[in-house]
């Protein structure tokens, strides 16, 4: 429902703009009677005789004659200002100096351009429809490969919160996902959400339940990828933040705002984007919570779709092979290509791989946290590096909280009732982590879920998190023979990353060449 409202809004805006643009409308020539000529409110008159025509202005009607002064015709008169007058015979036109007079009786036809309502409406509506389809095509292209979308309801609105189990593109890497429902509020004492399929995928949701946290009002709760809730009460901004080329990106990462970090891309051998962060470390702190807010780029989606399409008529086979591979293999491949955001900690003995953030998808920024110990780190600074494939992530914020997690009450709320878009109940499919799945194979499949609202604890703040689990299979329609040599090479670490970077450079170089040519 929400997405159609958005589309409707966009279409309405486009339509309004087009109506303004088209204010002059589609005009066609229409004959008018001679008696209407003086009232036509035109300023540019063209008098046509058999072999030539004159442009006249300052016209007036007197004693049965139309008169005017011959003037040079403007280069592009507005159609709405023009009138054509056809006169016969030629000898009826009386010219004295630059003044022309024509007996009204000798005007055979007068024509003006009139707005043709049908054409104008068609053109405007057609343009609006064109804009609508352009939007849809852009959405479909840019969404490419994504994952289920989740919307939360409040009394006033339905809000897209983000995507579920992004990156779980094969059954072995089915995963748990925790997403904070920032806009949810009880409706009729129920929490309501919607899980929708809006892309060409078969989406399999195993579990959907709410984790409701009642916590100190001054704390912010973020659930990590393991399902552990962390309270944030003192998120520190980095002292310094630099990109892979040593340039400062501090301004991009210090606030939740429109300034964001996206990889700088140069024509060199670098395949990974490394963000170096340095934080002040409070005395006696032995653990840290690294908080980020960001999302994946559409570029990553697009390039993964490109990779999938390279399998051509063997795509289905590739899907089967992936589904038979081990979870560890698939996750390792993903990490080797820089798809998740890896975290490395600077220790006394060198850089230590700490963990990685799961991909959140490109739809919405997601705030995520990783909790790790600081053993082996001495000094009053904590230095970390965030590493991902070039152009795979865009980050809005990075911070570190060294405080201990606060006490909080947690309620796990199972789905009370769920129905698909046809009204069929699907509740049992979502209640437990089992072998029953809500399968959404078609675009516009939508499940509506309701949960009982637990009683609020007075004097606390509340955070609602959706815990889901599932996997999805992108549907591709590529044909042709796969380039097996190239595809086999993609197993090597960094090959996909390099493929994506080269693709970008090739595209970018082509565009620059093309721009120069023009």
């Amino acid at each position: 429902m929400r997405k159609f409202n958005t589309i409707q809004q966009i279409t309405a805006v486009v339509l309004s703009v087009l109506i303004l643009i088209q204010f002059s409308g589609c005009r066609t020539l229409t004959g008018i009677s001679r008696t209407e000529i003086p009232y036509s409110e035109r300023t540019n008159f063209y008098i046509h005789r058999s072999d030539t025509s004159f442009h006249i202005t300052n016209t007036y009607l007197a004693d049965g004659f139309y008169s005017g002064i011959v003037t040079p015709a403007p280069e592009k008169p507005g159609k709405g200002d023009v009138m054509h007058i056809y006169v016969a015979p030629d000898s009826a036109i009386i010219a004295v100096g630059n003044k022309i007079s024509i007996p009204v009786a000798n005007v055979a036809k007068a024509e003006i351009f009139k707005v043709e309502a049908g054409r104008t409406i068609t053109a405007v509506a057609g343009a609006a429809a064109g804009a609508f389809w352009t939007y849809i095509i852009i959405v479909l292209i840019t969404k490419g490969i994504s994952c289920p979308y989740v919307y939360s309801e409040s009394a006033a609105d339905i809000t897209l919160e983000g995507e579920l189990y992004s990156g779980a593109t094969a059954t072995p890497i089915e995963r748990d996902d925790y997403i904070t429902l920032k806009a949810i509020s009880p409706v009729d004492n129920q929490y309501k959400i919607r899980i929708t399929n809006e892309v060409q995928e078969i989406q399999n949701t195993n579990l959907a339940e709410l984790l409701v946290f009642d916590h100190p009002a001054d704390a912010e709760i973020v659930v990590d990828k393991y399902g552990v809730a962390h309270s944030m009460t003192d998120i520190r901004q980095p002292l310094s933040a630099t990109n892979a080329y040593g340039e400062s990106i501090l301004a991009e990462l210090t606030d939740y705002d429109s300034k964001r970090h996206i990889s700088e891309i140069r024509d060199d051998a670098l395949l990974m984007d490394t963000i170096s962060l340095s934080f002040d470390r409070p005395a006696n702190s032995d653990r840290a919570k690294l908080v980020i807010s960001g999302k994946n780029t559409m570029w990553l989606d697009y390039m993964f779709a490109q990779l999938s399409d390279m399998f051509g008529n063997k795509y289905d086979e590739w899907v089967k092979i992936r589904n038979r591979r081990s979870r560890e293999d698939l996750l390792q491949w993903s990490l080797d290509q820089g798809i998740p955001l890896a975290v490395w900690l600077e220790t006394n003995t060198g850089l230590r791989f700490v963990d990685y953030y799961n991909v959140p998808g490109p739809a919405r920024d997601k705030k995520d946290v990783l909790h790790f110990d600081l053993s082996g780190v001495s000094g009053d600074k904590v230095n970390v590096k965030l590493v991902s494939g070039i152009l795979f992530w865009e980050l809005d914020f990075a911070g570190m909280d060294f405080t201990a997690d606060r006490e909080m009450a947690k309620s796990v709320v199972s789905v009370e009732y769920a129905a698909d878009e046809t009204g069929k109940e699907v509740t049992p499919l979502l209640r437990a982590d089992d072998d029953m799945y809500l399968v959404q194979p078609l675009i516009n499949n939508e499940a509506r879920l309701t949960f009982k609202t637990p009683p609020a604890v007075p004097g606390t703040g509340r955070t609602v998190v959706l815990h889901s689990k599932g996997n999805y299979e992108p549907i591709r329609t590529a044909t042709g023979k796969p380039d097996m040599k190239l595809l086999v090479s993609m197993r090597q670490p960094g090959m996909f990353t390099g493929f994506a970077k080269n693709h970008f450079l090739k595209y970018y170089a082509n565009r620059k060449t093309s721009e120069k040519a023009h």
Binding site: Y86, A88, A105, N106, A125, F132
Partner: protein, 138 residues
């Protein structure tokens, strides 16, 4: 399955309407000299001031256009007629069913011609609009 059926229905509607539009077509006015009116334009509508006559069998000789008043069994359509505009009204002479007018008194001759670009363009626009409406409100 139901989505496929809806799509089929929608496409049928779009195809029917686009075909209808293509047949109806968009016409634009073409101005020509009176001697260059295409021969397939059997009906000539002669306008002078507020009067007009529908004529057939017109011919031009010695600077005079002669035509027979009345369209007979031919139905007046955009694609079989042309229009001429005469001034002054007194230049039109009627003798029984024969109408004559000096060519020098014909200020303009035009006819509606099928505009293929417009027809295809507007047909496509309408198909797009209808498809959008079907998708939008289904």
């Amino acid at each position: 399955m139901s989505q496929k059926l809806s799509l089929k229905k929608a496409l049928k509607g779009v195809i029917f309407l686009a075909a209808f539009l293509a047949m109806t077509g968009c016409y634009s006015l073409k101005s020509v000299s009176v001697t260059r009116i295409p021969a397939e334009r059997k009906i000539l509508v002669i306008h002078a001031e507020e009067s007009s006559w529908t004529t057939t069998g017109y011919a031009i000789a010695d600077g005079i256009l002669t035509a027979n008043i009345g369209a007979g069994s031919i139905k007046l359509k955009k694609d079989n007629s042309a229009h001429i505009y005469v001034a002054p009204l007194s230049a039109v002479t009627i003798d029984g069913q024969t109408l004559t007018v000096p060519v020098r008194n014909i200020a303009k001759a035009d006819f509606s011609d099928l505009d293929f670009a417009d027809t295809i363009g507007f047909g496509a626009l309408w198909a797009l609009i209808i498809m959008t409406v079907l998708v939008f409100f289904s």
